[in-house]
């Protein structure tokens, strides 16, 4: 396209000196920083010197076997209920988008019911299910033969009831999250896949869901963290998860505050771990995005330090 150059491009002028200016004074920032620092000192001092926090007791119980037992149960509850909730959510979301009106309204009805009643009520409801159906059986309904049957109280233990309540409730929320993800994928993607001869299932699995993940992951991480804490509600049906384990201990020794602190420390620790996990999952599904690969926290730290170094050296502009 470009013919032989007949006019030389103008030679670039020498680069002028870098600007060196006196920075604006911002006294407001110094005042604000001083106030924040003062308040922080007050809080830390009070926490450290008030003996009623009972940090010794916290240290004593933090790794005690009963608390650790409760922690494991809390993690189990969270993991199983979330896994069930996600599977159910994907199924409900696909049902909700089905062209069959009966299928999509069934999904709508489910979501309406399980989002519309408090999860605490659902937990209690499932723990009393034996009052509603004393016998649970698998077979042909309306008087047909039965293959398996069990006493509801044997089959639905408090733990199973808790899993059912948390998982079925989570499914309703996950359904809306997954649906939002699916409809966020451009229609052209489905068309391109169809034009290549891919079936609806292949298109959903290979093209739509992987792209929907970018939208689905952040709120799912949120839901997981929320589930970790919501699982403490099942303490009302006497499952010795983290909170109930602590309650059992302070029912005897009356050291409520230190034990609640112990529990809080564990919830915070697991939440922090989950946040880190979420970051890496998000990074995996963000591949191909124009914003490029997200830097890890460690990489960012290293880069910041490098810039600080360049400034301190006075070598000029940070790269």
């Amino acid at each position: 396209m470009s013919g032989p150059a007949t006019i030389d491009a103008p030679a670039p002028a020498a680069r002028p000196d870098d600007i060196k200016a006196v920075p604006v004074r911002r006294p407001g920032r110094w005042v604000a920083a001083a106030v924040v620092l003062f308040l922080a000192v007050v809080v830390v001092h009070s926490v450290a010197t008030n003996p009623r926090f009972g940090w010794g007791t916290v240290g004593h119980y933090l790794f005690s076997s009963r608390i650790l037992h409760g922690l494991v149960l809390t993690i189990e509850l969270t993991a199983i209920a979330m896994a069930g909730g996600i599977l159910l959510g994907v199924l409900l979301a696909i049902m909700r988008l089905s062209p069959n009106p009966l299928v999509s309204s069934a999904s709508w009805l489910y979501i309406w019911f399980f989002r519309g009643t408090p999860v605490l009520v659902q937990i209690l409801f499932w723990s009393f299910i034996a009052a509603l159906y004393p016998r649970i059986s698998l077979g042909v309904p309306f008087g047909g033969p039965e293959f398996v049957h069990a006493n509801a109280n044997d089959f639905i233990t408090p733990f199973v009831a808790a899993i059912l309540a948390l998982g079925l409730n989570e499914g309703a929320y996950m359904a809306e999250i997954v649906r939002a993800g699916i409809i966020s994928v451009e229609e052209g993607q489905t068309e391109a896949a169809s034009a290549l001869g891919m079936t609806r299932l292949q298109t959903m699995r290979r093209i739509v869901l992987p792209q929907a993940m970018k939208v689905i992951i952040p709120p799912t991480g949120n839901e997981t963290i929320s589930m970790l804490k919501t699982s403490s509600l099942v303490s009302v049906v006497a499952i010795s998860e983290l909170l109930y384990s602590a309650q059992l201990i302070y029912a005897v020794n009356f050291r409520q505050i230190p034990l609640l602190l112990t529990v809080s420390i564990w919830y915070l620790a697991i939440t922090s771990l989950l946040s880190i996990g979420q970051f890496y999952v998000e990074r995996h599904y963000g591949r191909g995005s124009s914003r490029g690969r997200q830097a890890t926290w460690f990489e960012r730290l290293r880069r910041n330090l490098a810039i600080r170094h360049a400034r301190v050296d006075g070598a000029g502009r940070p790269s």
């Binding site: 068309e191 169809s194 034009a195 290549l196 001869g197 079936t199 292949q202 599904y285």
Partner: protein, 250 residues
């Protein structure tokens, strides 16, 4: 290869195709021209059944599109059957529609591996050849977002070719490109036509239609107003509306 007889299509109360009759023979390149909203893209999408037609008959390779005839009754084809037929027709979109979570090479390999169930290694080799043929061999590990529009469209053409289609449909393939990138995509299409591919191209590139098209059809308001050999249609349009359109774009 493609035969349309009185094809009608409405979206709600808006009739976009009002009786389209056309024929495209094997290895022929048909260019569809006309103003926006004249039904060119809709007609193209009917050919691989992305839209179903309301009246008339549409055949690809002698077989009805989207239906099966038994006696004097038409039966809708099952989804799997429609998918199988679409696999034989390549389509290139105005907005490329590459899969953004896959590299260029993965985009090209996806359908042969999943739809045709070909072995991965064999597909990889042909996919590389195709990327080389469209001139983006060095970009096989790159994600679409890092490619220019022209490169994306060329990968999209390679992706369609990977299914070894007997017919290629192009829906305004250069309309979303910067002017300086149009040429590289048209070059690929020109080479494809030269290799004997049957093509239907919806385009605003008059130069391309004149040079590469065996036939041009001018559409307006849901009907084919004029069809013929490009040189004759462009030099001496018989219809008033063709003349008005050409005077604006030439």
């Amino acid at each position: 290869m493609v035969l349309a007889e009185g094809v009608h299509k409405s979206f709600g109360r808006l009739e976009v195709l009002k009786g389209i009759s056309l024929e495209v023979r094997p290895s022929e390149v048909l260019c569809l021209l006309g103003p926006s909203g004249s039904g060119k893209s809709t007609f193209l999408r009917c050919i691989n059944h992305l839209e179903s037609i309301d009246a008339g008959r549409l055949y690809v390779d002698g077989e009805l599109v989207g239906y099966r005839q038994a006696g004097d009754k038409l039966h809708e084809l099952h989804d799997a059957e429609v998918a199988r037929k679409r696999a034989e027709i390549g389509m290139v979109f105005q907005r490329f529609n590459l899969f953004p979570h896959m590299t260029a090479l993965e985009n090209v390999m996806e359908a042969p591996v999943r739809v045709k169930k070909r072995p991965r290694e064999q597909v990889r080799a042909t996919a590389r050849e195709l990327l080389e043929r469209v001139g983006v061999a060095d970009k096989e590990r790159v994600y679409p977002a890092q490619l220019s529009g022209g490169q994306q469209q060329r990968v999209a053409i390679a992706r369609a070719l990977a299914m070894e289609p007997k017919l290629m449909l192009f829906d305004e393939p250069t309309s979303a490109l910067d002017p300086e990138l149009v040429g590289e995509v048209l070059d690929v299409m020109r080479a494809l036509a030269g290799a004997g591919m049957t093509m239907i191209v919806v385009t605003h590139e008059i130069g391309f239609a004149r040079e590469v098209g065996d036939t041009v059809a001018f559409m307006d308001a849901g009907v084919v107003v004029e069809t013929g050999v490009p040189r004759e249609v462009f030099a001496a349009p018989r219809h008033e509306r063709t003349r008005a359109f050409l005077s604006k774009v030439l």
